[in-house]
């Protein structure tokens, strides 16, 4: 099977500061990939390159076999949907209006949302448990509710690839679990390919079969959670002391080791 996303030797810099260099990655259809790495290691930049929010300085990105720049924006947004780290509307919009914005690339010029667009918006709000928020203003929602509304918007795009930039960082544990289980369900039922930048090793390990660990803009290692999440590697990349529970098991969990006096062992 040909990869749904293919990145070859991609580099990017903000001004003179290199953010990514020599990144190559192939993602198969229906995969779930979590991108991990310290702050500033290039996770968000990678997500933005994949969605053509930023243009790479070097290298090539292919989506569904085509070079990324060959897509018109509206065409691309029907293939690739993004849940950004943060969304702020400078004018107040209701949750329903925000979700319907996911249908924008399907509308004809001068067009209004049709019955089908509304139905799809309602379905994706139902899936993310945001239907009862429909008439509330986005900026009056809690960050967890907001993030689920944005996820509903991404689902309304009916894309084949879903990119998420730290989608659950602001969520409480129940909503973290709900969102990740929803992502797994969408992945299994609809064959949605999912790439998520995450901070949380444990969620990544629990819900993603493949992890990519970034270190200062390069891929430090990748593979199954048990291969990537080892105490040594985390110390090397993050400079943090951790203990990994079930290190060789399928879903290792990472525990921080504080330097305080209670550090018995």
């Amino acid at each position: 099977m040909s990869p749904v996303v293919e990145i070859r030797d991609v580099a990017f810099a903000y001004g003179r500061r290199a953010a990514l260099s020599g990144i190559s990655l192939a993602i198969q259809p229906g995969e779930r990939v979590a991108v991990l790495g310290p702050n500033g290691s290039g996770k968000s930049t990678l997500i933005k390159i994949l969605s053509r929010t930023l243009e790479p300085a070097a290298g090539e990105v292919r989506v569904l076999g085509r070079p990324l720049p060959s897509f018109a924006r509206c065409e691309l947004s029907r293939k690739v949907a993004v849940v950004p780290q943060e969304t702020q509307a400078s004018f107040p919009y209701t949750a329903a209006e925000i979700v319907l914005m996911g249908r924008a690339s399907y509308l004809p010029a001068f067009g209004l949302d049709g019955a089908r667009d509304r139905e799809i918006a309602r379905d994706s709000m139902r899936l993310t448990g945001t239907l009862e928020l429909a008439d509330r203003y986005l900026h009056e929602l809690s960050s967890g509710e907001k993030q689920r509304v944005i996820l509903a918007r991404a689902l309304a795009q009916e894309a084949e690839i879903l990119l998420l930039d730290e989608p659950t960082s602001f969520l409480d544990i129940r909503h973290q679990i709900e969102i990740h289980e929803l992502l797994v369900r969408l992945n299994r039922q609809k064959g949605l390919t999912i790439v998520a930048a995450l901070h949380d090793f444990n969620l990544a390990s629990l819900y993603f079969p493949r992890l990519v660990l970034l270190e200062s803009g390069r891929i430090s290692s990748q593979g199954a959670p048990a291969e990537v999440l080892t105490a040594e590697r985390i110390r090397a990349v993050y400079g943090a002391r951790v203990r990994v529970l079930g290190e060789l098991g399928e879903r290792p969990q990472v525990l921080p080791l504080p330097k305080g006096p209670e550090q018995a062992d």
Binding site: S51, A81, S90, F91, Y93, A96, A104, F110, L112
Partner: protein
Amino acid sequence: MRTLSRSKLVGINGALLLCLLVTAVAATLTGPAPLSLKESWSALATEHPYHQVLLRVRLPRVLLAIIVGAGLATSGLVLQALLRNPLACAHILGVSGGASLGGIAGLMFFPALFATRLKLGAAEISPVPLAAFAGALLSMVLIQRFALVHGRLHPYHLLLSGVIFNTFVSALIMFLNSVLDFYQAQSLLFWLMGSLSTTSYFSVALTWLYVLLGFVWKYRHGVSLNLLSLGEESALQLGVEVNRVRRHLFIACSLVVGAIVAVSGMIGFVGLMVPHVLRLLLGNDHRLLLPASFLAGGIFLGWADTLARVVLAPVELPVGVVTAFFGAPFFFFLLYHEGRKRVLYEPGR
């Protein structure tokens, strides 16, 4: 789910259109010498003494006021969404100032060229709107260039560079005012104060043409304006060709503002206030707001100019005095009333 439906779009704009028609008729009939409906009907017959007043003076002026209000309001609306900033309008950003400067510079430095008129049958096309359009476009390009951060347009940088540019342009105009002789300086005042007095149906018709053209161009991007309110990156990800759309909208706004400033000078407040009143009343879907601000802008300036003509007759108030005098308290009322219930604007990022 309360979102924009066809019936809401048609209903609200239909009602506004009706108000606009009523405004047009009522404003034409209102003046220092008021006419009853019956009298004005007879005034349409040529022998009536008011015939000239009605058809040569009042009607073109009302038509001009309507289209100027419509153009200023839609341009303000679009600039607010593009800049993600509720303070944006052609006036504050110096685009109107740039347009004035373009017109004044043309008249000063190429007096011979600008005295010529392109004859088109009985009608004459003046080069002034073109010079004003060029001035507006140049201002737009300049303030945009100053506001790029890592290739992205930063809304606060843009507002700041606009405000500073406006101050600079105003200073230039004042400077020109000081070096000009008395008669030229008098005509310069027209640009600065703004006035809707006109005698030529042809220039009114041309202004309608320019503004309508700009309006259709803007309306095409109604959905994109909604998406741009979420920021440049979200708009890109949702399928908006941000750079192209922004270029189109800046050109459309320059065209409209240039055409308006050329015939009526700088009339403030309409572009800032009318869109906000509508946002407070109707929400923020630009597919609804664009036609609504076109119509409401026309209604507002139609009435404002009528008041300016009538209140101290035979002395005429500058129309900007009336727009601010009635607009500001109404806006404060709405802001206070609605602001108690919800946050109205979020600082853009």
